[in-house]
């Protein structure tokens, strides 16, 4: 049985002797007696690897894996190319730490530099950090970048993912910053309301494209309004759409953030996922987190290093712009391998298929009596419908191994990705029709 120790009890005893000690307890003489754990630890006995394997497989069996998933809302099942998992499971990438020692970490550093470049390309921005925890924290950190002495109020569209909105609010609670929610109209941000809320004290406005309801926002108009008020414009974007949709830069955004889970990361009950943050050169020095830069080594060869560390907590301490001191390097690697494997054509295909398949499902669903689109505008690959008798219909789908849309106050939010075939969608529609007795 093992605690993965490399030494045997005899060896440890010999090492204690070198230290002139008799037992392990001698190592802890400085620990006050009162806090030493007396009895056995309240944990079960050690398990062998075979026991662990059987225990964990049996836990896994208590989860249901759906063969068709029509639910998104911030976590999407896209197809993950085999190259992604095979490459990122390389033990060297898996067990390395933050590349503090550039001379033996060029691989990790270069992979992050490439990630930064790809994120800049997707978003059209100038600078990217080496990733943050997820889309929600990326949004919250972006908001924090925008606060200025006289601009302290943060505007966030109501069409934002509820979790992202909650994260922004929680971060702002920490920093005692006011968050104002900009109301929606017809499933998109109410432009007039935004204009009326913007003012000289506005630090920034955050909007998601496509938004939480899957709707395409008029981001040009929103951006113009924000900039007219002198505030910063933050866009939250889904990278899986950026093979085909306008980039945040084209909309005039100052900062673009998002959740990169769709780029090769499995659903994993919510994590680990990957946040990305890119911005214009003008805001570069405010960008939190790690950044990798190119330089040369002592022989003039190209080299990569962690750079602009003057912003960071280990140097600035309480004056740092953020306390982030790790990135999601392995997830960033995952996204990079995904994007390199797909290429621009593959990513565009993802976008086009998501769009076409979602529109097909929407139109098929809307042929059913009582089912209709809740919002009138353009949507991308998520959409909200009415669905009479929602609970029963979703249960009927579940029984067939189909995870239906997500029940919201506004209706049911469906998501379709390239992973679904037409046959999958037809099956789902047939099950729903059957549930309605048609």
């Amino acid at each position: 049985m093992s605690s993965y120790l490399c030494s045997t009890p005899e060896e440890r005893q010999a090492m204690l002797e070198v230290l002139g000690m008799k037992s392990m307890d001698d190592l802890y003489v400085d620990v006050p007696e009162e806090v030493m754990i007396k009895g056995p630890l309240n944990l079960p006995a050690p398990k062998s690897e075979l026991d662990i394997r059987r225990t964990m497989e049996s836990l896994a069996e208590h989860n249901t894996r759906f063969h068709t998933i029509l639910r998104g809302a911030g976590a999407e099942r896209h197809y993950i190319p085999a190259a992604v998992s095979r490459i990122t499971s390389n033990e060297i990438f898996v067990t390395a730490y933050t590349p503090y020692q550039a001379e033996v970490s060029q691989g990790v550093l270069q992979s992050i530099f490439e990630f930064q470049t790809m994120m800049c390309e997707l978003t059209g921005m100038d600078v990217s950090n080496a990733s943050v925890y997820d889309g929600g924290t990326a949004a919250a950190e972006a908001v924090a970048m925008c606060k200025e002495r006289k601009r302290t109020k943060v505007l966030v569209s109501e069409t934002t993912h509820p979790d992202a909105l909650a994260v922004i609010k929680t971060y702002c609670y920490g920093s005692n910053t006011e968050v104002i929610t900009v109301p929606a109209k017809d499933g998109v941000t109410d432009l007039e309301a935004l204009k009326s809320l913007l003012g000289e004290d506005s630090a920034c406005f955050y909007v998601q494209q496509p938004n939480f309801f899957g709707m395409l926002e008029d981001c040009d108009a929103l951006g113009e309004a924000v900039h007219a008020a002198g505030a910063k414009y933050i866009m939250g974007v889904n990278p899986a759409t950026l093979g085909v949709l306008k980039s945040p830069r084209e909309y005039g955004a100052d900062i673009a953030v998002g959740e990169a889970q769709p780029l090769g990361m499995p659903l994993s009950w919510g994590g680990p996922y990957l946040g990305f943050m890119t911005c214009t050169t003008a805001m570069m020095r405010k960008l939190p987190g790690r950044i990798v830069g190119e330089t040369t080594d002592d022989k003039g060869e190209r080299a990569f290093v962690l750079t602009m560390q003057a912003r960071e907590q280990h140097i600035r301490r309480e004056k740092a712009s953020s306390n982030i001191c790790s990135n999601q390097a392995l997830c960033a690697l995952t996204a990079s391998v995904y994007l390199a494997e797909m290429g621009p054509a593959g990513l565009a295909e993802v976008g086009n298929q998501c769009y076409a398949k979602a529109h097909y499902l929407a139109s098929e669903l809307c042929k059913i009596e009582g089912v209709e689109l809740v919002f009138p505008g353009e949507f991308f690959h998520e959409f909200v419908t009415t669905l009479p008798d929602t609970y029963r219909v979703l249960c009927a789908l579940e029984k067939k191994g189909i995870l239906g849309g997500l029940r919201l106050r506004e209706g049911v939010l469906w998501c379709v990705t390239e992973y679904c075939t037409k046959a999958d969608l037809d099956e789902a529609v047939a099950v729903i029709k059957e549930a309605y007795g048609k």
Binding site: M24, P32, I92, P99, E103, I112, G271, D297
Partner: protein
Amino acid sequence: MKLIFELSKPGRGNKVLTPYQTTLNLNPTAEVPAVEIPAAFRRSSAPRLPEVSENDLSRHYNALARRSFGVCDGFYPLGSCTMKYNPKINEVIANLFKFTDIHPLQPKHTVSGCQTVYALAEKYLCGITGMDAMTFQPAAGAHGEFTGILLIKAYHDSRGDYARKKVIVPDSAHGTNPATAAMCGYEVCSIPSTPDGMVDLDALRAAVGPDTAALMLTNPNTIGKIDKNILEITKIVHDAGGLCYYDGANLNAVMGVARPGDMGFDVCHLNLHKTFSTPHGGGGPGSGAVGCKNILKPFLPGSAIGGGGGEQSVGQVKMFFGNFLVVLRALAYLMTLGNSGVREAAQTAVLNANYMKAKMEEAGYVCAYPGICMHEFVLDLSQLKKETGVSALDVAKSMLDHGIHPPTMYFPLIVHEALMFEPTETESRETIDEACAVMAEILKTAKEDPEACHTAPHHTVIGRPDETKAARHPVVRYDFNS
């Protein structure tokens, strides 16, 4: 080596998906009808992603791996980072489809496996920390600190105790502690350490007051010492109405031996990726689980869309429920170690550190603090630098040529020319002996041929990079026009 963009050739196309138009042309009923994305929303030009064959892709990343260094490549005594062995069984488990292919918003009855994973991890980690409840939402250590301090803030706010504006942090603390306090809107009050690296009780007594929100403490601290006065320390803070935050960065030294909860701490974060052996992944993903006593439990975060937060919840610090697959690995690790193994791991980590420290002193190095250390120790090379000009950096860079990852450099800040070693429990005596022999050889070189140390490393794929140039003229993305 080349960047992946430099391997790209237009037209080396996607093989992953059948272009949907192709299927449509072949067999119109097999595919959904084409729908055009409205022009107003379409991007004007494609992102310049690489276009490479899978063969070149594979070689590229294999070359990058060869130019990297993981725990699987050798000894990695990076202080404060707990680079222990990451068990392979945990990776296998974390790759089971019935864990990876589960949507976070599935109905509860379809995710009872995931929920049990969290319930068991909470139970075991509460057993180890002496806390009453735990959240797994935070994604990393600093994120956990942030969450923990927010809990304290929410607690004081819930009592209308708005006067508590200060967080006390020892000068030996990680930079994240003051940064976290600042992010939570607190004023940071730094207090000095005693010459032997402990919290200065008088300074602490002087610092606390009705404006004290919390004390943030790492114990054992960043110089690898356990604070003998820990019960006195937490009492001073509590008596002043403040709460005590335990930075779990160094828990590996005392897990199964002593519990933060019993030391008087109200809340703590754990770095599952350090103490509980989930892999570091080049910097992430990790998990900064936060445990707290019952008084703080009502404030734990939840997910707006997925549920979980109570009425007094501080809100939410990350989407959904945290880094599930990381927690899963940590649980597998905990089950493997079990009640006896957790303590054995801690003890052996401390033993290895003391053994290595003794060997280093024998080799002629000076430790910053005398006496028993916990799971890590700090060398002070200021004397060496004065005598030979060889700095802590030079010594670290010299280690690279011997296949050993250098320790943490220039931390803690209170020691000049610091090198902080943390061997962890998963290293053998032979590995430590070999590393000490290397260190002795480097010391010899430093004295006989300091220039060799100044110019090290000599056998790595690049020499020392120009960091100043990188910072002054940032090149942070590939220039396609270059």
